[in-house]
Subunit: 322 residues, 2 copies
């Protein structure tokens, strides 16, 4: 059952080609352990070469037990493994714990992928994670991109992150593990948004399922899929514009459809700032006001030390010296 | 304050041109009464010609009092009025009460607009209605179009529905009315989704505001605005395709981006079925499966007596005889 479903997801989203090498991020929790077993079962059929990556965040005293557990798993399945350690808390003195843990985790996965000469990394996010993420994004405020939630396939810095379990319920994963007598470690918190996510998981989603729509999780995941598809189309159109016109010529951008203009602006800002996570709806409205209504040489300051100046013929986006 | 805001909304969404004739739908409830007063205040500035339309749904015993109230309002403001009556309950024997009431209301507004030789109709939906609608759509399942919620400007059958209060809070409307000593009738239920909407209004939104994000209503409205903009862009691209290629040539539609393909299919179906309200995510997936995977002459049946046949070179969408 689960195997068929994952096969279907892989095909539908074109996640894996025959003969590929894959890094699998394995925390030791149910999702990543199930992912490991499933991909191991598909190994021969898809001619895959698998490699496990485990990063110990050293946030709990017994986190080394997760590492040992994953080591034993690797031995049992005869799959090579790279383990790493990182003292997130020490690094985090300089910034947000979430962001630093996320970057450290990605950096580690990228290094392992590079070592084994692949660009593809599989992670164990499931349908419930997806529903929680979409709801969390809605509650924090988002647009189309945020609604797309966790993408089944995503490029970051030239690496491809794939999620073969993204349409599988947590319930199905647990049933699969139980049936096979596999006992994973308790899910190590992924550190991200742990407070809000738990509240959404344990209180809001059950309330919505009971009082409003028992299929709410599926609906949120369908919404994410539609939003992801629509965003991808807009994204491609915006990229095409940016490749064609390196400079943001005022006349040219004013002739764009407003939906495309917003995306062109976001992408230009992300290019300098690294991301647009702190860019709000109000910022975008201010930029539109700058472009359409304010006099030449007006300036809009944005998060991430970005400033946007309306020049005579073009829009100039700059990163300020820190 | 409210006047400035409505002026801003009208400008931003280009709702009204100077010198236009407007039908205003006035139920007698706070929203439509405030809309009437605000547009009356802007009358000279925008050189508007106003006309009130009131439809009595005859669902409550005292609904004629709403009609009398709106009549007196029209006299006081010296604005011509057309009143109508409709026994929704009798009509509704043949179908859903919501749908029939909605169509009857629109039909009445269109007739009044035609009589006074205009195509523009103003309605009183506000920001709270918008937030409730978006949340309701999410809870029932929707894509980008559903997320756009109540559009500030919308074409239906050649008429243009505008909502100048769509970014105004219910609270602001009530404050405006109180300050001017205007006492509207209690909001006549608009019949649509009354049970779910009330539950969302009175229970879910307060819970989300208190426990998750006090700005949730604004965020839902921002989301609606972004989704509306993005949808408009996709819609224009899909329309362009449909104008260029009347027949759904299989090769041509398979070369489309999947986001555009879905919209092209939806629009083709809506053209025959009247709308796509009963078309679900699963139906769309089935159509994609038909196009990409099933053999020639395969058929997919859809709600609204629509059937889609995969021919050798094109996709044939037909309405079955009833």
């Amino acid at each position: 059952m689960l195997l068929d479903k994952v096969r279907y997801i892989i095909k539908k989203h074109r996640l894996i080609e025959r003969g590929e090498r894959l890094v699998i991020g394995v925390s030791g929790g149910p999702d990543s352990v199930a992912l490991l077993y499933v991909l191991n079962s598909l190994k021969r059929e898809l001619k895959l070469t698998l490699h496990i990556a485990h990063l110990d965040h050293m946030l709990r005293k017994d986190s080394c037990k997760d590492a040992e557990f994953v080591q034993r798993l690797a031995q049992r399945l005869k799959i090579p493994i790279t383990s790493g350690q990182i003292r997130v808390k020490e690094l985090a003195r300089k910034g947000s714990l979430e962001e630093i843990a996320r970057n450290a985790r990605l950096g580690f996965l990228f290094r392992v992928a590079k070592d084994i000469k692949t660009r593809k990394i599989a992670l164990g996010h499931n349908l419930d994670d997806q529903a929680e993420t979409v709801l969390m994004r809605i509650l924090r405020g988002c647009g189309l991109y945020g609604l797309a939630g966790i993408l089944p396939k995503r490029e970051i810095s030239g690496f491809q992150i794939i999620r073969p379990l993204i349409e599988v319920r947590r319930r199905e994963i647990n049933a699969y593990l139980k049936q096979r007598g596999i006992r994973p470690r308790l899910d190590a918190s992924n550190l991200e948004d742990i407070y809000l996510r738990n509240k959404i998981r344990n209180r809001l989603l059950p309330l919505l399922e009971e009082g409003y729509n028992k299929n709410i999780k599926d609906l949120l995941c369908n919404l994410a899929e539609c939003a992801g598809m629509d965003y991808d189309y807009l994204d491609k159109r915006a990229l095409r514009f940016l490749k064609q016109f390196r400079k943001l010529n005022l006349k040219k951008i004013m002739a764009l459809h407003p939906a495309l203009l917003r995306l062109v602006l976001r992408k230009s800002i992300a290019y300098l700032a690294g991301n647009t996570r702190r860019l709000t709806f109000r910022h975008m409205q201010e930029l539109e006001d700058l472009i359409y209504n304010r006099p030449i040489n007006s300036i809009v300051d944005l998060p991430g030390n970005i400033c946007v100046i309306k020049k005579k013929n073009h829009l100039s986006i700059n990163k300020k010296a820190q």
